[in-house]
Subunit: 325 residues, 2 copies
């Protein structure tokens, strides 16, 4: 920056003002500064700037790139944050980077808030972090009382799926769950509650799975080897449904003729023309907006008590459900 100032023959503060687009410097000066900056390949140093301002204007996001629905959420988070003057610092969970490390990294970059998309269970340290930093758990429930939570009512969503299938005439409805992955317990609970409500508790049939196509494929394999098969399946999410359906279709099972399938999330896979999946829709854009709101409300309005927001999900009926044969 000194280089630019020297080159143009003005002081550093003047350059600073020009780079930030503030009123003050004359049109003439402005033009010369921008030209010089361009020639010298100068761009303001964000960290230095924010060190001085004592603000980073960054929201940390912890997520898994492998889950399409989370990717959608992150894309929405980008625009919501930008609309309010904030930027996102992405912290991706990968096989080599577990949650504690990622959170620590984001904190040490002085992000002003944390949006968590994929909390691993048993996260003691999170409470400690949240005590110093606004944090919101997005799209999955969490035990920690101090954390804000923005999510869909997954239990209700799954109950809607059960209702829909029962209305179609199904009784043997199975659920491929996601074991102990985030949010899986609540979806399982919703399934059990839904079955019970229709007097079908005896038919409850939970097949262990995960939020992945692989898990769906494995569940399909298990179903194919059985003698008595359910007439409908509710999966842990859309990806799992895709794996399940693809495997079944290849084995000659007709969906929805022989078996109805309901997914969860209404992520982009659900809308694929060949899949045309009946699923439970979560409003990604709205969830993202509420998550950013929650963090900024703590940050800018100083709220301190935990906020729990639960959105109503909505069943979207497409082509993978039909009355049982």
């Amino acid at each position: 920056m000194s280089d630019v100032a020297a080159r143009v023959g003005v002081s550093r503060p003047t350059v600073s003002m020009v780079m930030r687009g503030l009123e003050g410097p004359s049109e003439e000066t402005r033009r010369k500064v921008l030209l010089a900056a361009d020639e010298l390949g100068y761009a303001p140093d964000t960290s230095a700037r924010l060190l001085r301002r004592q603000r980073s204007l960054q929201l940390g996001v912890v997520f898994t790139m492998r889950e399409p629905f989370h990717v959608e959420l992150v894309e929405h988070l980008y625009s919501c944050a930008a609309a309010r003057g904030y930027d996102l610092a992405l912290g991706a969970l990968t096989p080599t980077r577990e949650q504690d490390r990622v959170v620590e990294e984001l904190v040490s970059h002085r992000c002003e808030g944390l949006i968590l998309l994929d909390t691993e269970s048993g996260t003691a340290p999170l409470g400690a972090v949240a005590a110093h930093l606004p944090a919101v758990q997005l799209a999955c429930p969490v035990a920690d009382k101090s954390l804000d939570v923005v999510r869909s009512d997954d239990a209700k969503g799954i109950r809607q799926a059960v209702d829909h299938l029962v209305e179609l005439g199904h009784r043997a409805i199975a659920h491929v769950d996601a074991g102990n992955r985030p949010g899986a317990a609540e979806r399982r609970r919703g399934y059990r509650a839904g079955m019970k409500r229709h007097g079908l508790a005896g038919h409850a049939d939970i097949i262990p799975g995960d939020y992945t196509r692989e898990a769906g494929a494995a569940a399909a394999q298990q179903l194919l080897e059985r003698t008595g098969r359910p007439t409908a399946v509710i999966t842990a999410n859309d990806d799992c449904a895709l794996g399940l359906i693809d495997s079944l279709v290849r084995a000659g099972v007709d969906v929805p003729g022989d078996l109805s399938v309901v997914g969860y999330d209404d992520s982009s896979v659900a809308r694929l023309p060949f899949l045309n999946l009946t699923t439970v829709r979560q409003d990604a854009a709205r969830l993202a907006e509420l998550a950013v709101d929650a963090v900024l409300d703590r940050l800018e309005a100083g709220r301190t008590e935990a906020r729990k927001v639960t959105l109503a999900p909505r069943l979207v009926v497409r082509g993978t459900t039909a009355p049982p044969a």
Copy 2:
């Protein structure tokens, strides 16, 4: 940090050394400092640290979260970079954030190098950036002479796919391309060259597409409406193949009985048990390693002339190719 120092009754530099795990402070001091830091929720401010050190130790990565193969590359990049003491700053391209802005953002965070996974065509400004910053284009070719490039020989990969299909007895081999998306031109070129080499230039049949399942589904639709159908198809990537195959299977076309399909990338979708896709493998781990090498070699060894590395891809024959009926 002053707080911690005051609390323990030592000076700031001592705290600094403890936090960085350096030799010097006594075991006693170390223990007390760490305790105090924990109680106060103190973590070192990375930007301040790096401002002082004049290093960010960060590599910027520009990518799209929607492409599974790129996600895999990023995961590998994380571990390669970590192994050499660097961290990644992710800059995701989304519908609301185009390349120039993302690059600018990364640069202003003072990342020391740039790894580009999804260069939009016609990127004049990139050359300017690369003049000031080591940059490598990963997994897709680019015109710019000054940029380093680490990629697979896609033309060769597609030729291998053609060879394989011809050996099986196919002659009417079509290609679903990815229009003007990055790398699509070269794959198209490889297809044309492969067909020509076998005297099949007359059978060349390029169906417009994209690197997505949607595009694969659309291509399938187009094939189904045709009277004369090819006996084999090579798609732009694995995702496109998935969309294509899923659509065809649902329309009653047997793969590979009626139609053989070859994908590209060998991303995680290709290995899905129900898909079991014949595809052209790119070595993601090795590509990531070479990309990090290229950047760090400019950074630490001061290389200045452009480096172009091209890896040989390898055809992986699985279950979606067979002799024509």
